[in-house]
Each structure stands twice: as C-alpha cells, then as structure tokens.
C-alpha cells in the first residue's frame, strides 16, 4: 500500500517537476563520500539527471552539453538528515501562532498526524537547508491523549511546495517523568496504557465491529493509526531517557512484536548491547551530558560512540525539551556541531556522517531513495567548504532532488541590509 502510494507520489512529482529538474548536472573533481564505511572517491564525478543520481565514478568525463560544476577537490556528501525535529510545524516557539507541534484537545491521540500542518514556506526550512540539511524527521510533541503524541513525517527540504517525503513514518510516544497526568501521573501507567492500547488496536483490527474491551483507551481513529505499528511497517518512536524506561521499551518491543525507535536515550549507553540485540535504533542529542532532570543523571557525551560500538544504529536529532533552543531553527548547524562533538568523544568521522545521513534514513524508512550517493537515489548532494562535521565548514552548494537550492535566508538579507558599507547611505535601511 505504502509502496503504491510512493509510486503515485513519484508520478505526481514528475508531472509537476520544475524545469531545472530535467537539466543534467555533472559535479566534477569531488572528494565524494558516497556511503558510510567506504573510503571517499577522489576526483569523483557525480551526474545528476531528472532529480536522481545517474552516475558516480572516479574521473568520469561529463557528457557533452551538461552543466558542469567543479568542486575543486572539496568534500561532497549526501544532504544531511536531522533525525528528530519540528521542522515544518513550528515557526516561533514562544507563541502558539504557527505552532502545530501538538494536538491540545479533542479525539486525536496516536491518530494525530502532523503531515497536514506542514508549511513549505517556513523560514526554518531555509535556514536548515543553508546548513546542508535536505531531509528531516518531524515529530509531534505534547499530547491530548498521553502517552501518544501522534504521527510524524519524513520531510525533504526542497524549495518546492512538496516537502512531504514519507507521511506516517512513526507513531510517537512520550515516556518518563514527570509523568503527564493524562497518562496516570506515573510512568508505570504510561507503559500499561501503551501496552493496553496495542492490545486494543489488535482486537479492533481482528473484529472492527465486535464488542470487545476496546474504546477504553483508544477510539477507532487511534486504533486505526496503530495498525501499521502492529504490522511492523511503522515504528513506535518512544521518547525515553532513563535506563528503566529504555528497558521497558526493549521489553515492549519484544512482547508486542513491534518496532521501536528510542528518541533521546540519554542513558541508552547503559543498555547498548540489549538495544543492539533487539535492533532498536536510537535518535540522540549529541550535546546531552547534563542531568537536566532526574531521568538523565547518566547523560554523557560518549553515548553515541558507545551505542555505535555496540552495533546500535544511531541518528542525531535535537530532542531535549529543555535545550529546545537547539531545536528546529538550528536544525542544520547544531546537527553538524553535534556530530563534531560526538567525534571528539569517540565516534569516527565516518560513523558521524552515517548518523546524519544513512542512520536516520534507515530508521525512518527513506533509505530506498535517500542517504547515499548511489545511482537511482534522489540527488540530495552537498558540496562543502571545509569539513561538514565541524563548525568551521559550510555548504557551498546544496542540491535537493537534483535542484540547486538558492540558500537564501532572511538572516543573510538582514546582514546585507545592515552591512557597514551602507553606513553613509542617506536613505533608511528599509529602502535597501
């Protein structure tokens, strides 16, 4: 069903493709990191056509007549992916205007689906793209039906109106303390409600019109939304920081036969082997090393390195409520700074690149078309000035689905308007 939907969406995209998409571009003389674990291809040529990568190889001569971009030896990587954000569903955090992050009342719990709120004109998307982000997972926060917060979506950060890559990519759940009174006010209740909800969804599916003990927790909308979770097609994205909650999530995955992704996971390093054995990935905040709450006393900067060493698939996202300033309006810059910090604390450069490309792509189900520089993949490509995983670097060019992004932001426009060169301009800045 989903495959069918994707195919249909692909067709729609082709029909409405901008002219630039049909153009062929050859990036030459690139130091191309095509996929994690493989050494870079030196002097690589990357050919982009109709939004896809058509060829990647060392020293390949560009076909005649195509646009040639000389990377001059610069590092070229896939576009980056933020593994947990609120991109597209928030504008100015401190006000409710444009903040569609959470359902606040009414019948929607697990069924709440943020895809309908996405704003392709969000300035936050432009700033993220300016920093080399071309994909992002967006998750709802807060809930009218705790512990469920609703369904997230994977985004592509194109400059077109169509930024929805994969809708319903996860059903999100919030656990831990202090517990939402709506989830019983105890974390024990959160786990019981969650398990009961899965049982009810299972019963609902078996007999949609039967009596059964359903509708105690779920209404039919929420029960429907959990169907793909029961099928293993969509993961439960469980926000959990304390070791005990992460262990509960592992047990739930085992008992209920569902896929689980841990969001946050400040103390996940404590159970790295169990997570690896259960194939449960972790989307973590690479900055987290402080006990903001009693649930994350064990937070430490080598969490990423320890998890990866144990074989856990990891991604980076900005997931801590209290460091929310790192969230979506810095979705790219902090992703890169965080990757650098993880490297400083034991992750290899390749593993860090993986955590901002193929890691999140695999976790959120978009790896079939994004995450590596390989023939047939969407042409999300970044040519870097300097090191993409350190704060001194920046993107010189960003391609999303083969289309070169303008990289315009309000920040740059303001910087130009107030540049010192205008100091003696007799006209107010508003005329510039």
């Amino acid at each position: 069903m989903r495959r069918l939907l994707l195919a249909f969406m692909g067709l729609a995209a082709a029909l409405t493709a901008p002219a630039a998409m049909a153009q062929t571009t050859a990036i030459i003389h690139a130091k191309a990191y095509v996929q994690p674990g493989a050494p870079p291809i030196l002097d690589a040529t990357i050919i982009i056509q109709t939004g896809k990568i058509k060829a990647v190889a060392a020293g390949l001569a560009p076909p005649p007549g195509v646009e040639v971009v000389d990377a001059k030896g610069a590092i070229v990587t896939p576009g980056l992916m933020n593994g947990a954000s609120q991109l597209g569903i928030e504008e100015v955090t401190s006000t409710d205007d444009g903040a569609d992050r959470a359902v606040k009342s009414g019948p929607l719990g697990a069924a709440f689906d943020i895809q309908y709120a996405l704003n392709p004109n969000s300035e936050l998307l432009r700033v993220a793209r300016f920093d080399g982000v071309t994909r992002a997972m967006t998750l709802p926060t807060g809930s009218a039906s705790a512990p469920f917060t609703g369904q997230g979506a994977a985004l592509r950060l194109s400059e077109s109106a169509d930024i929805l890559d994969r809708p319903k990519a996860a059903v999100a759940v919030q656990t831990g303390g202090p517990s939402d009174p709506a989830a019983g006010g105890s974390r024990a209740a959160q786990w019981q409600i969650l398990r009961n909800a899965l049982d009810e969804a299972r019963e609902y599916r078996a007999d949609k019109h039967g009596a059964g003990p359903r509708d105690q927790i779920l209404n039919h909308l929420d029960a429907e939304a959990l169907g793909p979770v029961l099928d293993g097609k969509v993961p439960l994205a469980i926000a959990a920081t304390r070791e005990s909650d992460i262990r509960q999530a592992i047990a739930l995955a085992h008992d209920e036969h569902v896929r689980v992704v841990i969001i946050g996971g400040a103390e996940a390093w404590r159970v790295a082997d169990l997570l690896a054995a259960a194939k449960i990935p972790v989307v973590l905040d690479p900055f987290a090393n402080l006990a903001y709450s009693l649930d994350e006393i064990g937070a430490r900067l080598d969490n990423a390195a320890r998890l990866r060493k144990a074989g856990v698939v990891i991604a980076f996202g900005m997931v801590d409520d209290l460091s929310s300033v790192y969230e979506s309006y810095l979705a790219g810059e902090t992703l890169r700074e965080g990757a650098g910090l993880a490297i400083a604390n034991g992750l290899t450069w390749d593993q860090a690149l993986e955590a901002v490309t193929t890691g999140p792509a695999r976790i959120w189900g978009v790896a079939d078309h994004y995450g590596v520089l390989a023939v047939g993949q969407d042409a999300d490509v970044v040519i870097w000035h300097g090191d993409p995983l350190d704060v001194s670097g920046w993107p010189d060019a960003v391609y999303v689905q083969g289309v070169k992004a303008t990289l315009r932001t309000r920040q740059d426009a303001l910087g130009k308007r107030y540049a010192p060169s205008h100091a003696n301009d007799p006209w107010p800045s508003n005329y510039r």
Binding site: E296, S392, L414
Partner: protein
C-alpha cells in the same frame, strides 16, 4: 568611577590612594559595604612553563611555537624560547593551542542548578518572580556551588563566570562574578574585588511575566516607565544618604532595592541589560543619559547589528549568541552575522552562554560566529575571535586589567587545548586558574565532580 574600599579590595584601594595622595576615607555608607566578602584562595600551584604552543594571547596576537611562563599565579612572560628557570614545571604543548581562561559573562550556573525537578520548574531560583523590580535580590544567594554545571564549564576552559539573575523583571537583581573553582560556599568562589552587576531586562520577558497576571508592566512603554520611576526614586535615595554623609543626624532607612540602584548611580555596580531589539537599546541608552549611569553591556542583543555605530560611540559591549534566532518574536531578526558585523565596526563583542550546554562550548560559539562571518566575506582571524570569549567579556565586567589576556602581570588563567579551540574536535586538556592546575583531562584526580555526581549508580560503568 568611585569605589568603596570594601567593594574594591583593601590592597587595591590602598595602592590607589597612595598613588593619588587622597586623604584617608570616611567610613563608607552602609549600602556600599560588602557584607558577603570573598573568601576565595587560589588552589595549590606550581610555577609552570608551557612550551612550543600556538598561543592566542587574547591581546590580539597569534604566536607560533611560543612559551608561556606562569609564576606565583601570574603570567610572567610569553614568547619564543623563554629561559627555563630552575624548579619550574614544564609542560610540552607542541601541536597544541593555548588561550587565556574562557570568561562567560552571562551564566546561570548555580542559580539554575541541575537537576531541575518538577518543583524547580515551577519556582526556579534564577528569577524572583514576585515583582517587576527585584533589585534587592542577589544572585549569589540563589547559587548552589555544587551545581555540576560548574565543573562541566571548567572542562570547557571556563575560569571566570558572571552569574546573573533571570530576565523576568525590569530589575532582576544583582549578579556576581565567580572564579570557577570548586567550593562548598559561594563566598569561596567570589572573584575578589570584582564589581557587582545589576541585571535589567527589556521586552517580552517582563511584560509576558506580569501581563498575564494583570500586573504592571503589561507593555513595552510600561517597562520604560517602570525603569524611569525607579531611577528617579534611587536618585532621591542616594541624595538622602549623601546628605547624611555630609551632615549626619538620623540615618535614612535602608531600602535594599534602592541600595542596588544607588550603587549603579554611584558607579559601583555595572548594568548588564537583557535587550533584543534595536529600538529598545536606543531607548535605554537615552534613559541612561537622562538618569546618569552607564550601560556596561546589552545581553542577547539580537539586533545589535542594526545599531553598531551607536553602541561603539557609547562604549557599550554587545553580548550575543552565535546563532540563536526565531525562538520568540523579538529574536525573529536574529542573524548569525551579528558578532562579525559588530566586530568589523569596532564594537566590543562578547559571546555568552545563558545555558549550561553552551557554557561548555564557548569557543565553538566563537568558531560558529567566525565561520558565519567568513561565509559572508567578513574575515575575522582566530587571534581576534578569541577575544570574544576572553578579553571582551573581561572588559564588560571591568576586569580587563586582571584577566582576559596572557600579558605579563595578569592572573595566570590559562587553557591548553588539544588543538584549534574553535574546532568541535578539540578539548581543553589543562586549565589553570590563578596558576593552579584545576583541570587535567589526562588525570582523573584533577577532574572535579559535584557532590550530586558522587556515587550515582548510573555514572558508574555498567558491571
């Protein structure tokens, strides 16, 4: 600027009066006394020669292969091939970088002590939320010295912090400058002789704190009126005490709020003001002229780049983030070019933390702001950018004669970095505070931990 001996440190005052031939002072006014004096003592130290480093001296220079000699807690010399005095401990820093100790001019470490419980989130120690004017509160009386944030900041090279009250109020209270040294009491951390500060705040925070309670102020114009009335009251209070100083008689009644504001008007207390918008900063500058005080620094100053020449003319530092924007409307025009635009126009720029997370990575804040400038064609070299987190914040706190650069005679606050301090890959290897090695990444016995972190099962390795 007039100084009370008690605030300034007896020694410094004595030297100053000898130099100026001033008459013996009268007993200072009670509100100018310091009833909570510093008990800070430097930790045990050894004279140390750091050799062959890339030195960013904070005074604007970059020296390659340079040595740095620390003796008796002071910087003695910096330069190539220094002589090695007998008995000096030598640290080979070849391939590593050396900077002054990092100075965080806007920290809430200790008054935002971790962990924050559900109760703390209701009533944070960082702001006294009961009135828009709480000039009577002192941040040091909220500080938990055992906040784990302090040692985390130390591992990021921070040797001096100014801990400020929060920004809910027009007058948030007094801030305090601390040496980042582990201690059981706040007094043992207080930077001897440093000026107190007064935290003030513009814009959204005060009006959104009091507006919903239908309490003054509910608007920006209300905020301005609130500041002005308080300054007028403070002038009258100050005049009463000065009359008493001249004529004696019955002492006026003490008012803790007015004590602090009068201290500002006396020039003893430095004003550090949270303001985002250009027009608000311009209004406050006019008000400072109207009322007779100086603003040391605008903090956050998201729109400072719009008024760079004004800030330069007024000698006001802009204390900014590298990249925060958009988290509220008054931050909507934030640009990460702020620091670079200001610096290129000669404004004293400082990068601050305001967050225990950023407080561990202040050189990366500078690195990000430097990279943003470069990307837009404003090239700021590392030897200048390091001043954003060393000498410039020291200037903002009035301590630039003592800390902020590696010049002979200055306090031996030094960081040896594993590499370029502006790279996320680098770490502080060794941190010296007044010549004492207070942090060493290679030595577990030189890595202080807060009491809270002691014996926590989840901090032990998994058995």
């Amino acid at each position: 600027m007039r100084k009370s001996p008690a605030l300034c440190g007896v020694l410094i005052w004595a030297l100053a009066s000898v130099a100026s031939g001033a008459p013996a002072p009268r007993e200072p006014l009670p509100y100018r006394l310091d009833p909570y004096p510093s008990t800070y003592r430097p930790l045990p130290r050894a004279d140390t020669l750091i050799t062959s480093a890339t030195v960013l001296d904070g005074a604007g220079h970059r020296l390659e292969g340079a040595d740095l000699l620390l003796r008796d807690g002071k910087v003695v010399a910096v330069g190539p091939n220094l002589a090695r005095p007998d008995g000096v401990k030598v640290i080979d820093a070849k391939g590593r970088w050396v900077t002054p100790g990092i100075v965080d001019i806007h920290s809430h470490d200790g008054d935002f002590a971790l962990p924050l419980t559900a109760n703390d989130l209701q009533e944070l120690d960082v702001s006294e939320g009961s009135d828009p004017n709480t000039a009577q509160v002192w941040a040091e009386h909220s500080i938990t010295p055992q906040d784990p944030d302090f040692s985390r900041a130390m591992a990021g090279g921070v040797t001096t912090l100014q801990v400020l009250p929060g920004s809910s109020n027009l007058f948030g209270g007094r801030g305090v400058v601390l040496k980042n040294v582990p201690a059981v009491t706040v007094q043992a951390m207080k930077f001897p002789g440093a000026d107190y500060s007064l935290k003030m705040a513009c814009g959204e925070n005060p009006k959104f704190t009091y507006g919903p309670r239908l309490k003054f102020p509910t608007s920006r114009m209300g905020e301005m009126a609130g500041y002005r009335q308080a300054w007028i009251d403070a002038k009258a209070y100050k005049a009463k005490w000065e009359k008493y100083e001249r004529e004696r008689g019955d002492a006026p009644a003490r008012d803790l709020r007015m004590d602090t504001l009068a201290g500002v008007l006396d020039g003893d207390i430095r004003v550090h003001m949270h303001c985002y918008r250009a027009e608000e900063m311009a209004d406050v500058i006019d008000m400072s002229h109207e009322m007779g005080y100086h603003v040391a620094a605008f903090h956050h100053a998201v729109e400072a780049y719009k008024i760079a020449p004004l800030l330069k003319r007024e000698g006001i530092c802009a204390v900014v983030w590298s990249d925060w924007w958009g988290f509220k409307m008054e931050a909507y025009d934030g640009t990460r070019l702020n620091a670079a635009l200001l610096d290129s126009q000669g404004v004293c720029v400082t990068l601050h933390s305001d967050s225990p997370m950023i407080g561990q990575h202040l050189t990366l804040e500078a690195g990000k702001a430097m990279a943003a400038g470069r990307r837009a064609g404003i090239d700021i070299p590392p030897e200048r950018a390091i001043q954003w987190v060393t000498l410039n914040p020291a200037k903002g706190m009035g301590l630039d004669a003592r800390i902020g650069s590696l010049e002979p005679g200055k306090d031996a606050d030094v960081v040896i970095w594993s590499g370029d301090p502006f790279s996320a890959y680098s770490k502080a290897d060794q941190v010296f505070l007044d010549g004492a090695l207070v942090f060493d990444r290679m030595d577990p016995n030189r890595q202080p931990k807060a009491d809270f972190e002691l014996g926590q099962p989840v901090l032990e390795p998994r058995s």
